[in-house]
Amino acid sequence: MSTNTSSIPAAPARLPHPSPRRILLKRAREHRGLVIGGAIVLAVVLIALFAPLIAPHDPYAQDLSKRLLPPVWSEKGSWEHIFGTDALGRDYLSRILFGARISLLIGISAAIGSGLIGTTLGLLAGYFGGRVDSVVTFIVSVRLALPVVLVSLAVVSLFGGDLWIVVTVLSLLLWDRFAVVVRSATQQLRNQEFVTAARAMGASTPRILIVELLPNLIGPLVVIGSLEVAHAILLESALSFLGLGVQPPTPSWGLMVSEGKGLVFFDARLIALPGAAIAILVLGINLIGDGLRDVLTPEGRS
């Protein structure tokens, strides 16, 4: 080769780049919110998975002669029922432990369902633009114009509070953020030269959408996904609180608050415990979502 090449010592400022994954992991480990949120959620997930092993009692077993027993920290409490019992004499701790399953199941299923809907719509709108975009934008505004709480209440009251009906309703109502974010992210990506390059290579549209674009959307999807899990859990608890969520005797936290609210002034643990469980789980998930957003944002300004 006939190039006259001068060798210069490397500029000391140029450090070799560690791989993107290593950087992400390092940043994740250093993010306090993410670590706390991760610990909370991990704990709840473990509880949900091993509920049958760790729960001291059957969460459905009633004993009317042992109803409303106080928790262990009150004078009359006993270790037999650490959080006491509810109005039907069921062990409160066991119900709360099993409640984690319901919340996580609903939250995650609804987020996946809405994620599928929202991502598909957002991808199509963002990539094709024009008329497709107008149609999707219109669908999004219709969806946003529907009051979520009201419509889900109405649907659940019509079709009954089956767990999967609740999940379906939430999936159908919570996809808007996915669609909006994916759409605008796709719009930006669409104009990136690597997409043009893929087209110039003769890549088919599905290939561009799935192979080229989708992997680049994983960051925002994971972030919104986690926030929507939290959103769905909160909504389910609100529906249950209003008496139109999952049906008893399923141990859902929102339902437990609803059942205990009549005694809020006398036996505050009945609502304080499940309410706090919701708040802590949602807090944990939100911390993860926010943390991931910070970590995945290209320049994590810190």
Binding site: N4, I8, A11, P12
Partner: protein, 283 residues
């Protein structure tokens, strides 16, 4: 006596890993009526140097210098408030992107007059007078009408002229122009360079002109400093530097610049190769 004199400027930026020594001992001297060009490739620390002189870097970035004075003012000793009094008044800056460097929701008149009112404590009317005057001087047609206009209503070239007018408003001793023409079209770039050169001559300004483009620097600067990896590796009057580069890096750099009349096959562009095959820092 030089308008700006900086000795052994060091800037260290904390990062997730090792702190980044972005500037590692740079000296700068500019006299009245002189234009100093600073060239160097992307990421070599040009902008950080200029921001350090303006003391515009965020607090977490550490800036040290053996000496940093503007006229007889020791910039390093100034409080933040005193520095604010100097910025825009005695030293001004022109940035690369005229599109984003102007506030999109404020009129040109407002953005210009507030500088004047801040430093000259005059009335709004006087400020607008001064602004009109300068807009006229930088060759903006119908300056009075432009005062009520928003940045997005102007073309890139006009916007950069507004930036220049704004920088000159309080008659500074020193102007730092950080790649003021990089975002512009070639034809507009030439006009802006000519404008800057003539204003600088006319007012006897000291000017630091930063660019990655040796061609541009050669056109406007009297003296050039070549930066590489946070250090000044070479410097001197333009003709001398271009004609007899001392440092191997300068030589390599110059050999890689395509010049008029060069043809592949007949001439060959050289290229800088680092001794390690280390990837460069991304910006």
């Amino acid at each position: 006596m030089s308008v700006l004199s900086v000795r052994n400027l060091k800037v260290t930026i904390p990062t997730h890993g090792e702190p980044l020594h972005a500037v590692r001992g740079v000296d700068i001297e500019v006299g009245a009526g002189e234009t100093l060009g600073i060239v160097g490739e992307s990421g070599c620390g040009k902008s950080v140097t200029s921001m350090a002189i303006m003391r515009l870097l965020p607090g977490r970035i550490s800036v040290t210098a053996d000496e940093m004075r503007l006229g007889d003012t020791d910039l390093a000793a100034m409080s933040e408030r005193q520095m604010a009094d100097i910025r825009g008044d005695r030293m001004a800056m022109i940035f690369q992107e005229p599109m984003t460097a102007l506030n999109p929701v404020l009129t040109i008149g407002r953005q210009m007059s507030e500088t004047w009112m801040r430093h000259r404590r005059g009335s709004k009317r006087e400020a607008l007078e001064a602004a009109t005057d300068l807009l006229d001087r930088v060759g903006i047609p119908h300056p009075r009408e432009r005062l009520g206009v928003y940045p997005h209503q102007l073309s890139g070239g006009l916007r950069q002229r507004v930036m220049i007018a704004m920088a000159l408003l309080c008659d500074p001793q020193l102007i730092i122009a950080d790649e003021p023409t990089t975002a512009l079209d070639v034809t507009v770039q030439a006009q802006i360079l000519d404008l800057l050169a003539s204003l600088q001559q006319e007012r006897g300004l000291a000017m630091i002109f930063i660019s990655h483009d040796i061609g541009v620097v050669a056109r406007i600067a009297g003296r050039v400093q070549v930066m590489y990896g946070g250090r000044t590796v070479d410097g001197g009057p333009v003709g001398e530097l271009l004609g007899h580069p001392k440092h191997p890096y300068t030589r390599a750099l110059l050999s890689s610049v395509p010049r008029r009349g060069m043809r592949w096959g007949r001439d060959t562009l050289g290229s800088v190769r680092w001794s390690e095959d280390a990837p460069e820092a991304s910006s």
